[in-house]
């Protein structure tokens, strides 16, 4: 009687990865690349706990002096092993939405690889991650956004609190229009720097126009002289 293929496959997988936790094995593929720090922590926890000492000289009686010299380090305590209760930031200035319908683009890969860092840098703000299904539905309702995702939508809560969404109320970073990993990474870094440095800005719109979009004569000169806006401008 032939063996069940699925049964043999699952047992083989279990044998191949004895240390893998069942929860992680069941996690969706998207989580793997979104959270590389967790993967690093898991790899670090596998480090040996016994320090190998160099061989000590043998004493006259023939006993090895190093027998008592083996130092056992305390087992590594994993930080963040237990999920801490989420505390929303006290005074968020921005709401950041990440909309990604899943085009296989370089920008998507760059965003996924650097998401954990962005999350850490933007602890003061609220980040909302739309799932792929929600992103597709959202973009389907707003078709001008097709091909521009992954989109990082930044809502200025001060502006929205003052006059709603009728006037200026934030900006979109359309990563999907970029074609190279270098451009995508530079755009992400520019975005992170801008949002961090202008968190308390009174006139955010003017800062975006001069700082990000290089409008005006000074902007033209900067486009010509500085490498970052030149590279982003393609």
């Amino acid at each position: 009687m032939p063996k069940s293929l699925s049964g043999s496959r699952s047992s083989r997988r279990l044998r191949a990865r004895p240390g893998a936790s069942p929860k992680r094995a069941a996690a969706p593929a998207t989580e793997d690349s979104v959270r590389p720090d967790v993967r690093d922590e898991m790899m670090m926890s596998d480090a040996p706990t016994v320090l190998d000492e160099p061989p000590a000289p043998v004493s006259a009686s023939g006993e090895c002096a190093s027998a008592a010299m083996v130092i056992e380090l305390p087992a590594r305590v994993r930080k963040g092993g237990r999920p801490q209760k989420y505390k929303p930031p006290a005074y968020p200035r921005f709401r950041i939405f990440i909309i990604d319908s899943g085009w296989n683009s370089v920008a998507r890969r760059v965003l996924r690889h650097n998401f954990a860092l962005i999350r850490r840098l933007r602890k003061e703000d609220l980040i909302y991650l739309l799932s792929r299904r929600k992103s597709v539905e959202f973009i389907d309702r707003h078709r001008s956004l097709i091909g521009r995702d992954p989109i990082i939508a930044v809502h200025d809560l001060e502006a929205i609190g003052t006059h709603g969404t009728t006037g200026f109320h934030g900006f979109h970073l359309h990563l999907g229009i970029l074609r190279t990993p270098r451009q995508s990474l530079m755009a992400l870094q520019t975005f992170a720097r801008f949002v961090t440095t202008h968190r308390h800005s009174v006139n955010l719109e003017a800062k975006i126009r001069t700082g990000l979009r290089r409008e005006g004569m000074l902007g033209a000169v900067e486009i010509l002289l500085h490498s970052a806006p030149r590279a982003l401008g393609g």
Partner: protein, 68 residues
């Protein structure tokens, strides 16, 4: 005659170089405007939908290990 011809050539080449510079700066500015799109009244419906999704509880802030 040759002097005038040379002058005309250099004026035309200078104008072409200037036009290319203006075109190139404008192209890069357009790309930057498209990349960093400022949200105004014409984007009100897009933003309002995201705000509604947050206020209705459909979207929750991202925490470690939890997505939308």
């Amino acid at each position: 005659m040759l002097d005038r011809f040379g002058e005309a050539i250099s004026v035309v080449l200078g104008a072409l170089a200037l036009a290319y510079l203006v075109y190139e700066i404008d192209r890069r500015k357009r790309k930057l405007r498209d990349l960093f799109h400022v949200l105004g009244s014409e984007d009100a419906d897009i933003s309002a939908e995201l705000v509604d999704m947050v206020e209705s509880g459909e979207l929750q802030p991202y925490t470690r290990g939890a997505g939308a």
